[in-house]
């Protein structure tokens, strides 16, 4: 039993690691979609961030520079999205698809041109990555039963960006519900006319939402390539942006609920990793593909109204015409 609980604890630990990029992207998605812009380009921004972080870190030897540039890369992609669907009122889905395809092409083309490694970036030495941080007093706490273990395994020992992601959630909630920017953001996603009529620029407000989202995706990308991993691999985002989008929908466009959805999706994957090939009583061997497809299955069921009805921001997807 104790062993089982210990393993469960470790799965939570893994859940956190897996959910980190999801959380960051989901918060990005919330910013963008709450402002009324559909964001299927989370995937592309994540990928660009991952590439730029790894490339910059490899060239400069600085993880911090990598992180900064990844955020800029995410913002840049967001600005393309904004230019197309805010400034030119283009179709938001088409623009998102374009950005995702652009990102997969651009990262490989640039990767090959810069590093000549088939699209990968060089592996970073340990010091050039964000590595796990041991918290103060871990050894001391060890003597305390249960709490000590939780402290060591679950709370301590992650890299900085995991904590950044964990902070991003309450921060997003705080901004959304407590700040002026958040009030306006929520308003512009529901009734942009009201925002315009209140003397606030719809355009600039939406751009700002996208910029914040781009930066968050950039951090998520950096997490993949210079924190959790040590280099960039082509297509390394592997659908995480879409899962994050699913989490946004699942969380009904609310930060805390989306966070829970990320944890759930993360836990599914962590459990899959750990249960692979293990015969469980009653269930038998866990079918990996089914477990991995669960986020998509659940999202479809949710959208179909079988789990509850998501209520998207009213103005989402519609360009604002005066």
């Amino acid at each position: 039993m104790a062993d089982f609980l210990y393993q469960l604890l470790l799965s939570f630990d893994a859940t956190l690691r897996i959910a980190t990029p999801l959380m960051l992207c989901a918060m990005a998605g919330i910013f963008s979609e709450r402002s009324g812009i559909v964001d299927i380009s989370l995937e592309g921004k994540l990928l660009s961030g991952a590439f730029v972080a790894a490339a910059v870190a490899a060239v400069t030897g600085s993880a911090w520079l990598g992180l900064g540039c990844a955020m800029l890369a995410g913002i840049f992609m967001s600005l393309i999205h904004g230019f197309a669907c805010i400034t030119h009122k283009g179709d938001q889905v088409v623009s998102g698809v374009a950005i995702n395809i652009l990102a997969s092409g651009l990262t490989i083309v640039l990767g090959i041109a810069l590093f000549k490694r088939g699209g990968q970036t060089p592996s970073l030495p340990r010091d050039d990555r964000f590595t796990p941080i041991e918290w103060w007093g871990v050894d001391m706490m060890d003597s305390v039963p249960v709490i000590g273990t939780i402290y060591r395994q679950l709370i301590s020992g992650h890299n900085m960006l995991v904590y950044v992601a964990l902070l991003a959630v309450p921060l997003t909630a705080f901004i959304l519900y407590r700040s002026r920017f958040g009030l306006r953001l929520r308003a512009v996603g529901e009734v942009p006319e009201a925002v315009d009529s209140a003397g606030i620029s719809v355009t600039w407000l939406r751009y700002r939402a996208l910029i914040v989202g781009g930066a968050l995706c950039g951090i998520a990308g950096a997490y993949l390539s210079i924190a959790q991993g040590g280099n960039f691999v082509r297509e390394m985002s592997a659908g995480k942006g879409y899962i994050a989008l699913a989490a946004v929908i699942f969380g009904n466009w609310k930060p805390l609920s989306a966070f829970m959805a990320c944890l759930m999706f993360g836990f599914l994957e962590a459990a899959t990793t750990r249960l692979e090939g293990v015969d469980l009583p009653l269930i038998g061997e866990v079918p990996t593909q089914l477990m991995l497809a669960m986020p998509y299955v659940l999202t479809v069921l949710l959208l179909a109204g079988f789990i509850g009805k998501p209520r998207p921001p009213a103005a989402i997807g519609k360009p604002y015409h005066k």
Binding site: R178, R180, R186, E190, V191, D196, S197
Partner: protein
């Protein structure tokens, strides 16, 4: 004279539509200035220009004697202009307070300005008797309460000019009266009020001065005390209002269409049609009168199968339709019902389709589209050419997209299509809205011809004169209820007016 606001030669186009042409307007400080005009005359556009929501293509705006450049509503607000828009600009998921705060939050954090905003809100609501719970969700408020929130929003920055774009369209008479009291208080405080409305009585009751717009132009300015409703109406429409129709008495035959205890409750649970009974016979026109928004649209759409009746029943040419039947427009059409929808752009036409395609819309399952499995474009073209000739659609080009026809000709396309199917029952909604005089006459003649050919016609129109001159009997709706059905011979404006205000026929008579 102290001018609060002055417009000089303001023009604005949307693509090919010239919404405002060289508009001049002066509004005195501390007065209520009315603006009237038909749908699409350009009133809202003009107000939006003043409020900075639209940018004029040319022309000048002066506030308090100074030329100003209003680039956005922020500028307008800064100059002391408040606006209550034709359509509510409220975020339904927000509380009243949040809606009022939007744009004037008073700090980076909501906490910083919430107290002050609440205080201001309460102050305004007390001063002008605008009761509303600051912490209620807007989605829980009724339209009257929402209106109050809009007014509070417009006044919160200490507006010197208050624009109200058709504020009374959604209000009950009591609510409208209350609003006017508020406007008077505001005027006495030195605020200039710009009031847009379609209702001449309101103009006469409350305004000091009035400007009239027609097709994007300012066609006149009057002192209210020196004008009459007749004069205003003529200026507005640009024609004699009362059109004489040469109508022979009807010879009604068998009942073609009847409603028994018809009821309709919408998705929000609001009862919009309440226990309606009527019948329409072959060879007669039953007119439906009422103030806009009293259930006419719901009635038409329920009869046409576009909404499901929720109680009672219909009898359409012998077929019984009850709430249990899943009707749809197809079934109703197949029973032999034709339908001129109230809103041709949303319902009557596919604007991006060619005229010849629109001419078979709804009939594309019939011979009109050819007798084989595939469309026969020769037949489709021929059909369209014939109908265009018969109904005088101009230009008579079947390949032109519907959106490129003028409003009147678009309406003729719809009419041509529905009339020529020789329906046993015809539902007609606002047949002449936005149509010029010549076309109106033509359409009226066609309607009467159809009647005389034995069609049972139900006619809905906001134009009382149209109803009176075409109908054989008139049903009046108020609040979703049938107030009564009277013979058009007995109908005069006053009787109808009282009925439209909700007085039962017996009382009226």
């Amino acid at each position: 004279m102290n001018t609060a606001l002055e417009l000089k030669n303001v023009s604005k186009s949307f693509g090919l539509v010239k919404a405002n042409k060289n508009i001049n307007l002066a509004v005195e400080a501390g007065s209520i200035h009315g603006i009237i005009g038909e749908n699409g005359a350009g009133k809202s556009t003009l107000m939006n220009i003043i409020y900075g929501m639209h940018r004029a293509d040319s022309g000048e705006i002066h506030f308090g004697g100074q030329k100003v450049d209003v680039r956005s509503s922020a500028d307008a607000i800064e100059h002391g202009i408040g606006m209550v828009h034709q359509h509510f600009m409220l975020v339904p998921t927000f509380t009243v307070l949040e809606n009022v705060m939007l744009g004037t939050e008073g700090g980076l954090m909501l906490r910083d300005g919430r107290g002050a905003a609440l205080e201001r809100l309460l102050h305004l609501s007390e001063t002008y008797n605008l009761q509303v719970n600051p912490h209620a969700l807007v989605s829980d408020l009724n339209v009257g309460q929402r209106q109050r929130v809009e007014i509070i929003k417009a006044l919160k920055g200490g507006a010197k000019v208050l624009i109200l774009d058709e504020p009374t369209g959604v209000l009950t008479p009591q609510e409208a009266d209350q609003l006017f009291e508020i406007l008077k208080v505001l005027r006495d405080d030195g605020v200039s009020v710009l009031l847009i409305t379609h209702k001449l009585s309101e103009i006469m009751d409350i305004t000091d001065t009035v400007s009239i717009m027609r097709q994007g132009e300012m066609v006149g300015h009057r002192k209210t005390s020196e004008t009459s409703p007749q004069e205003l109406a003529e200026l507005m429409v640009g024609r004699e209002v009362l059109l004489e129709v040469d109508r022979k008495p009807a010879t009604p035959a068998e009942v073609r269409f009847s409603a028994t205890n018809l009821g309709y409750t919408n998705a929000q649970g609001v009862l919009e049609l309440d226990d309606i009974n009527f019948e329409v016979r072959a060879g007669e026109i039953l007119g439906v009168a009422g103030v806009s928004g009293n259930g006419q649209t719901q009635l038409m759409e329920t009869l046409a199968g576009m909404r499901h009746l929720t109680s009672g029943s219909l009898n359409i040419l012998g077929t019984e339709v009850t709430a249990a039947d899943q009707t749809d427009p197809r079934i109703i059409r197949d029973l032999g019902v034709g339908h001129i929808p109230e809103d041709r752009h949303t319902h009557g036409l596919v604007l991006n389709f060619e005229a010849r395609e629109n001419m078979i819309l709804g009939f594309h399952d019939t011979e009109l589209a050819g007798s084989g499995t595939l469309f026969d474009y020769k037949a489709i073209q021929q059909n369209c050419e014939d109908k265009m000739a018969h109904y005088d659609v101009r230009p008579a080009n079947p390949r032109l997209n519907a959106k490129n026809f003028s409003g009147g000709n678009q309406q003729k396309i719809v009419i041509a299509r529905e009339f020529s199917a020789n329906p046993g029952v015809l539902l007609v909604g606002q047949p002449t809205r936005g149509v010029d005089v010549g076309a109106i006459e033509f359409i009226h003649k066609q309607l009467l011809e159809l009647r005389d050919a034995g069609c049972a016609i139900l006619l809905v129109s906001v134009e009382l004169d149209e109803i009176m001159s075409l109908s054989d009997r008139i049903m009046v709706l108020c609040g979703g209820q049938n107030v009564g059905i009277i013979d058009s011979a007995d109908a005069d404006r006053q009787t109808l007016g009282l009925m439209m205000a909700g007085q039962r026929q017996e009382a009226a008579a």
